[in-house]
């Protein structure tokens, strides 16, 4: 077994193995900034990941509404935290991933919509 571990370490290095684990769910958010880079890189089936995301956003659209409805004249600020869980699972011979993300946080700002402030 030790020889096997030495072989693996020689081939890949400690860091690169670990890197494959934590690449999963690099940015699970699917809100205004998209999924992000390296999100769909694959790792060992059965890997678990807990992402915690903190974001600060502003603009004229609710940053948590993926339809990005523009409310002209509005100015929103948000401080958000999101927590999630993801697991890599094989589906036949292919890679699969299931994940859940729960947003929580604070939204503030001003807007006028149809005379409603």
């Amino acid at each position: 077994m030790n020889n096997y571990i030495k072989f693996i370490s020689m081939r890949a290095g400690n860091n690169s193995i670990a890197l494959f684990i934590v690449m999963l769910c690099a940015s699970i958010s699917t809100m205004a900034q998209g999924d992000g880079p390296r999100f769909y890189w694959k790792t060992l089936m059965g890997t678990n990941a807990f992402p915690v995301i903190a974001s600060s956003m502003g603009g004229n659209s609710n940053p948590l509404d993926p339809s990005h409805v523009v409310l002209p004249g509005s100015d929103f600020k948000s401080s958000m935290a999101m927590a999630g869980y993801a697991k890599m699972l094989p589906i036949g011979k292919r890679s699969g991933m299931v994940s859940i993300i729960l947003p929580m946080g604070n939204l503030s700002g001003s807007a006028t919509i149809n005379q409603l402030n």
């Binding site: 193995i17 699917t30 992000g36 880079p37 769909y40 974001s55 339809s67």
Partner: protein, 204 residues
């Protein structure tokens, strides 16, 4: 939000350590489906809420294109995610009904390892369509572009940190989408096989 993705073109599932050592994305294509369930707090007096009071989701086709050799510290990828978002009606948007047409989103990333533990990415995202109608009053469709960047760093064998910034660029008109944001992501990951291997290596 619930999400499910599955690879359809590219390397087979990584089932063990030798598979992991052999992994290279080359050209891989996935399908992804997301669904947001209308639960949680919703204030019908406010136009901004964390909850959206409606079902919505998307279908997308993530693509990874490996550029060059797959060597830690030198990995480079070009990545795309075309997706279409579909929205149910919000029947209590400040007392009104908001309907939203399907929205098309295209994400692109050029990523590159700077060192074995540090990588970066140039990010582009575009939105089009998604015209919202509030009680019969139609808004305008989106046609916007956002750019940004991401830095990722491996803190320890189980933890990774990513920092990213993005901002819309064609946002001069009052009706244009104007949004920018900063995001920090910490990911803790583990797998019993890897943990066991690290334990054995430590005891060596």
């Amino acid at each position: 939000m619930l999400q499910f993705s599955m690879n359809v073109v590219g390397p087979k599932a990584i089932m063990n350590i030798p598979d992991m050592l052999r992994y290279e994305p080359k050209f891989s294509v996935d399908v992804v489906g997301s669904l947001a369930i209308p639960i949680g707090n919703y204030d019908n007096k406010s136009p901004i809420n964390i909850g959206q009071n409606r079902w919505y989701g998307r279908v997308g086709v993530p693509v990874i294109w490996q550029l060059g050799a797959w060597v830690p510290g030198k990995r480079t990828t070009l990545e795309f995610l075309p997706a279409i978002w579909l929205f149910g009606d919000n029947t209590d948007f400040t007392g009104k009904t908001m309907s939203t047409e399907p929205m098309f989103q295209l994400e692109g990333h050029l990523t590159r390892d700077f060192m074995e533990k540090l990588w970066g990415s140039i990010d582009v995202i575009s939105y089009s369509g998604g015209m919202a109608t509030i009680d019969g009053v139609a808004g305008s469709s989106l046609n916007n572009l956002g750019v940004g960047g991401t830095l990722g760093y491996q803190i320890n064998p189980n933890m990774q940190m990513n920092l990213s910034y993005s901002s819309t660029v064609n946002d001069k008109e009052p009706g244009d989408l104007n949004i920018d944001g900063f995001r920090m992501t910490l990911i803790f990951g583990w797998h019993s096989l890897i943990e066991g291997m690290q334990r054995l290596k430590g005891a060596e």
